[in-house]
């Protein structure tokens, strides 16, 4: 199999697994983990295309992944802070119970 | 890499020993055999160093505290590490009944493995780097991230509140002090223009007349070294930053529920971490394997590396015997209000040093030094003064578990 195709398929599978976690798991932290997995799947795509199709910008893929990493870290920090804040309020991290906008 | 060394160089024989040994195997196997040999040499060497350091530490602490230290096993107690090892190995391995068995078992391994990996990128002598990576420094910090996870695993899986508290303390401390640790190396990276430790070491191995070009011999290098060393003390959980395992407060921190061989592994990982971070300090600031004077180059480079490493380890032990432990809030404010700003300011000072390189007016050299020292020293005095003033003796507040 073409190595690029292989990478893309792996990335697609990771994306799907992450999505499944978000859709099925009730724990907010687990959903966040799924989100991180999806982000990483996207990063893998960038690296794969950068490695095997180097006719575009020479550093584009690598730099984009670095940016994605930084944004993932920011997203995790804010998301987890939100979870902590919500936990204080609902005393739970169950997504099913967070169905009100009003506190 | 063998071609760079001449036969007369003392490093030649060590480096070519590996090549000679691997020569006995099939060419396809050679890289693996070489990696194995290097790993064996590293682990063996550092395990010996571990044994030597423990006895040195106990003897040294004894001297500092006005007592003889261990002196029963062997001549002058020199075989004490062997006795300790036998004791550790034969002790019963107790796992708490409610513990998470698998995680509890994995934690010491996860603690030891990354630290050992970190040894791979250190240049121990001229052309003596097991794994000369382009991004060696980044590799070092990346694998170092694993030890935080291990602390968590150990603390959480034990099902013991002292363990958990110790783990929280350890993680908070490691995350906080990782920032000044990494930032203080940024100045070095900027000046060397490379993340490769080999390259950084090579740059310091030159001499202007008889003065070595070590980074510690510049204002920013001095400040960077002090920042780095302090943060390294905290990263390796050594006194005075040994809160995560402070015996008098939380028994043994995340190691409370460990005994026997697993405890020995934790112990070893801690010392290995100390060795790794001291080695990094030697490479980044103390000129790695280069001799302090051009005339002393006949001594092999790895010997110089060893001498510097032992010197730093001595400072570790010395500090442990001298300084009392910090309080948790003092620890955090020390990190965020003194070390981190100093590391950031130091980056600016390093940039100024770099750009003042081609000053040519008279007394430019003195002016450069004065400005550099002022740029580092004045903020330090200001920050330290602010820290002292704001942290008076407040009333003691007790908080109980909810």
């Amino acid at each position: 199999m073409n190595p690029l195709t292989q990478c893309l398929l792996v990335s697609g599978a990771l994306f799907g697994i992450g999505l499944a976690a978000i859709l099925v798991r009730r724990n907010a932290i687990m959903a966040l983990l799924g989100l991180e997995l999806m982000l990483n799947a996207g990063s893998l795509n960038f690296i794969a295309f950068w490695r095997f199709r180097p006719d575009a910008e020479p550093m584009g893929g690598v730099v984009f992944v670095l940016f994605a990493l930084a944004i993932a870290a920011a997203e995790a920090a804010v998301g987890l802070a939100l979870i902590v804040a919500i936990y204080r309020h609902f005393h739970s991290t169950n997504l099913d119970e967070m169905d009100r906008l009003k506190g | 890499m063998q071609t760079i060394l001449a036969v007369t160089d003392p490093e030649f024989w060590i480096v070519n020993l590996g090549a000679w040994l691997t020569g006995w195997f099939e060419p396809a196997w050679r890289p693996w055999i070489q990696a194995l040999l290097q790993a064996a040499a590293l682990v063996g060497g550092f395990a010996t160093l571990f044994a030597v350091t423990t006895i040195l530490e106990r003897k040294g602490l004894g001297r500092i505290q006005n007592r003889p230290g261990p002196n029963r096993v062997g001549p002058f107690g020199l075989l004490q590490p062997a006795a300790d090892g036998i004791k550790m190995l034969t002790k019963e391995d107790i796992v708490p009944a409610r513990a998470d068995k698998i995680v509890h078992f994995l934690a010491p391994i996860v603690m030891l493995a990354p630290v050992t990996l970190a040894f791979a990128v250190i240049p121990y002598g001229r052309e003596m780097t097991p794994m000369p990576l382009d991004a060696g420094l980044l590799f070092f910090f990346a694998v170092g991230a694993g030890s935080e996870l291990a602390a968590f695993m150990a603390g959480w899986s034990s099902r013991n509140k002292y363990s958990l508290l110790g783990a929280i303390r350890a993680i908070a401390q490691m995350i906080s002090f990782e920032l000044p640790l990494v930032l203080s190396t940024v100045a070095v990276v900027m000046m060397a223009g490379s993340l490769s430790l080999v390259e950084i070491a090579r740059r310091q191995a030159e001499y202007v007349s008889f003065v070595p070009q070590w980074h510690i011999l510049t204002p920013w290098g001095l400040a960077g070294f002090l920042t780095f060393f302090t943060a390294a003390l905290a990263e390796s959980n050594r006194s005075p930053f040994d809160l995560p395992e402070g015996e008098s407060e939380i028994i043994g921190g995340f190691m409370t529920e460990y005994s026997g061989f697993k405890y020995a592994i934790f112990f070893m990982a801690e010392y290995f971490g100390m060795f790794a971070v001291s080695s990094l300090a030697v490479v980044l600031f103390l000129g790695a394997w280069s001799a302090p004077l051009p005339g002393l180059q006949f001594i092999p480079s790895y010997v110089w590396f060893g001498i510097k490493l032992m010197g730093l380890l001595f400072v570790f032990i010395w500090l442990r015997g001298t300084l009392p432990r910090l309080r948790a809030d003092q620890l955090m404010s020390f990190c965020w209000k003194l070390l981190l700003p100093m590391a950031l300011i130091n980056i600016g000072v390093a940039a100024g040093w770099h750009y003042s390189r081609d000053w040519s007016f008279p007394a430019a050299w003195g002016c450069r030094w004065f400005l550099g020292l002022a740029g580092v020293g004045l903020p330090f005095m200001g920050l330290a003064w602010g820290l002292r003033r704001r942290r008076g003796w407040g009333p003691r507040v007790y908080r109980y578990a909810e």
């Binding site: 499944a20 990483n40 920090a77 | 996870l149 968590f152």
Partner: protein
């Protein structure tokens, strides 16, 4: 490329990810998730993106995983599983949706003609990455710095409990 090794790592990453997402306890899930992240870094290494691989470990393992773990400790249900008894139908619908998306991606990848590879490799040394970041991508880099600062402050403010802070002053 050592094709066998590469394939093995790929399978390992996918398996670790799947197991992580199926773990009952979030703590175990995080630990297995870390394994899959490290595997991903190995894939990057195989694709000759050394810098990205190390940065991946440093940030994902050193920062994100630790953050998650810390949150688990703070929210105190790291041990007690909060998965309530749920209608099986709901989970099945969710899984079906995810499978649908995964299948679509797979079909698209396999059907696409854009996956022709070219042999040439541009190695990315640290110096080149640094120069690209400081010249061509300077604007995104600055914006990212701003974003991280904002995220830092936002996280601090969100996680700060005003009531508790107020109470601490009193005794």
């Amino acid at each position: 490329m050592q094709s066998d090794f590469f394939t093995l790592v790929c399978w390992g990453v996918m398996a670790a990810a799947a197991i992580a997402m199926m773990m009952r306890r979030p703590v175990h899930a995080v630990l297995v998730f870390v394994v899959s992240l490290v595997g991903l870094a190995v894939i990057y290494l195989q694709l000759r993106a050394e810098f990205v691989a190390f940065a991946q470990i440093l940030i994902s393992v050193g920062a994100v995983a630790i953050l998650v773990v810390f949150t688990l400790l703070l929210t105190r249900n790291g041990g007690a599983e909060a998965e309530l008894k749920r209608t099986a139908g709901s989970a099945i619908v969710g899984l079906a949706m995810a499978g649908l998306v995964m299948g679509c991606i797979g079909i698209c990848v396999l059907a696409s003609s854009a996956v022709e590879t070219s042999g040439a490799v541009t190695p990315a040394t640290v110096r080149q990455i640094g120069e690209a970041l400081m010249t061509q991508y300077i604007l995104p880099l600055e914006v990212l710095g701003l974003l991280l600062t904002a995220a830092l402050m936002g996280a601090v403010i969100l996680a700060m409990d005003p009531a508790r802070r107020h109470n601490e002053r009193k005794p």
